[in-house]
Amino acid sequence: MSSNRLFGPVDPATEAGYVDPPPRKGFFTDTSVCIGCKACEVACKEWNLIPDDGFDLLGSSYDNTGALGGSTWRHVAFVEQPTRRVDLGMPGMGPPEEAAVDTPVPQGPSAPPPGAGYEDVDALAAAGRMTAPLTGPGAAEEPPDFRWLMSSDVCKHCTHAACLDVCPTGALFRTEFGTVVVQDDVCNGCGYCVAACPYGVIERRKGPEGTPNVGIAQKCTLCYDRLGAGMEPACAKACPTDSIQFGDVEELRARAERRLAEVQASGEDRAQLYGHDPDDGVGGAGAFFLLLDEPEVYGLPPDPVVTTRDLPAMFNRAGLAGLALLAGAAAAFLGGRR
């Protein structure tokens, strides 16, 4: 076995046997600019012809999707959190601090006066607060505000993908782009990948009789068909704020580091990159994230590890146990007269 086949940094396409593969492709999802529009969820469903999986109201903020699964390959998480306001430098968040006072908002003849129809919610004042300073005079009277954390989750396309490792049929395979894809005509629905994924991404598709690919494990393909045609995945294409960025993993990692520095400088002290490190428990993810809080807040495992890292040790223990059984049986026959 060559080094790092089960754990550690490696180029997944080369490791899988591709000669001179194209650069590894992936997503950098910058959750700090996600507006929770779910265009990614819709674009993914449309492009990949994914059936619906229920229209339930879950009572979890604006998240009525719930989780990634066989028929959900992008999932936007919504977390409502009490917090201080931080200016992330997003466009369109409100008028600049001074301008809000000095310059009247230009109004066309048909434009309603400011505040019309908004008696209960003072929208302009709220917009002003978004850019209010965190400290200094006035900050003390600010009522504790809340924020929304929104994050579009997706398959991580791990360097060491447990789903792919444990698949007994070879239905899951590594593409030349370093991504992980299920061949739905090969999968026999054994469900092993479902239990193996440290992020709870892949799932056997459920649904009524007649739904395509019911009983087969399904997940994001990073739009393998679009990649082959030189196009970006449907979710990234549809994302209106470039929260979902598609590209070469190496370039995206550098971009993520720069963005993290920016966001941290703006006062987001819990901002962190998630899944970008090639030394982490899955050898680095092909799809990684900039989060504004700890991973578990978004439903992500804080320190995921590919289960097959321990597989050699598991087989060793099982070998010992098997030998013990054989020896025990032999002893049972040698140990007495009857």
Partner: protein, 332 residues
Amino acid sequence: MSARHAASPGRRDEGRAQPAGGGDGEYTTYYGRPVVKAPPWEVDIPAYMFAGGLAAGSSLLAAGGDLTGRPALRRAGRLTAAGALGFSMVALIHDLGRPGRFLNMLRTMKLTSPMSVGTWILSLYGGPAGLAAASEVARWAGLRRGPFRLLAALDRPAGVAAGLTAPPVAAYTAVLLADTATPSWHESYRELPFVFCGSAAAAAGGAAMILAPADQAGPARRLAVGGAVAEVAAEQRMERSMGLTAEPLHHGKAGKLMTAAKYLTAGGAALSLLAGRSRVAAVTAGAALLAGSACTRLGIFEAGIASAEDPKYTVVPQRERLRRGQPVRYEG
């Protein structure tokens, strides 16, 4: 709002979102939802593991019985093994999302997939085990001519081959469960193979005590007692090494099954000490050991499912690693 929990078992009170990694015993989740997904497996899988273990142990007893001149033990072992193996295959195929595609298991051989390895182990074992049972049936039916002569010639080699390929059948199912992100299965990987092999020996010994006459069942009794002791001891050790993820073994359905398994296995083992003299004791002990083995498999299965469904068992051990400053990182 994300949920924050106190780390007492089963408590799931919702609270305002807080920074993760706060004080001791608290952890954060996303609306209390699971992080990892439980496998979509039904009772087929633990039933298969029980039957696979029973088959493996029975083939060992049959081979020993054949080599040491205990024909009734040989017969009981071979027929039990074939029956259990047949049941296993049905359970395995039934559990697939696309049962019609079960043969796709044989289109590749992957060492990184315990299910692939297990399929090949079963294929390797199934041939001789089936042949040995067929030979037993032919002998019973008095068939000795034509192709049955070949079968008779293969009788002992097939039986011995089945015995030698049997231990991997009993042991690999532990790796099958452990090689997942299911917290209570993965964390048990050091001891689970010993629990399962002990359980296989106890079940097979129990079955042979029921089926074979007492004067030939001595090895079955000894295997049953040894297996039961090994299973109970390995299980105790396993729980200590699993840390927090041992908790689901003590709660709910899994807790009841594991308690039942302990009493049935220990009781069956104790009673089998009398089984040499009393037929009633032999049958009762055998039935208790079989039931105990089935409860062990079911209990460990259910505990794993419960550990996947409660995000606590995924989040807390990982968060603890980070809190200690020991995240899992490659150190080449």
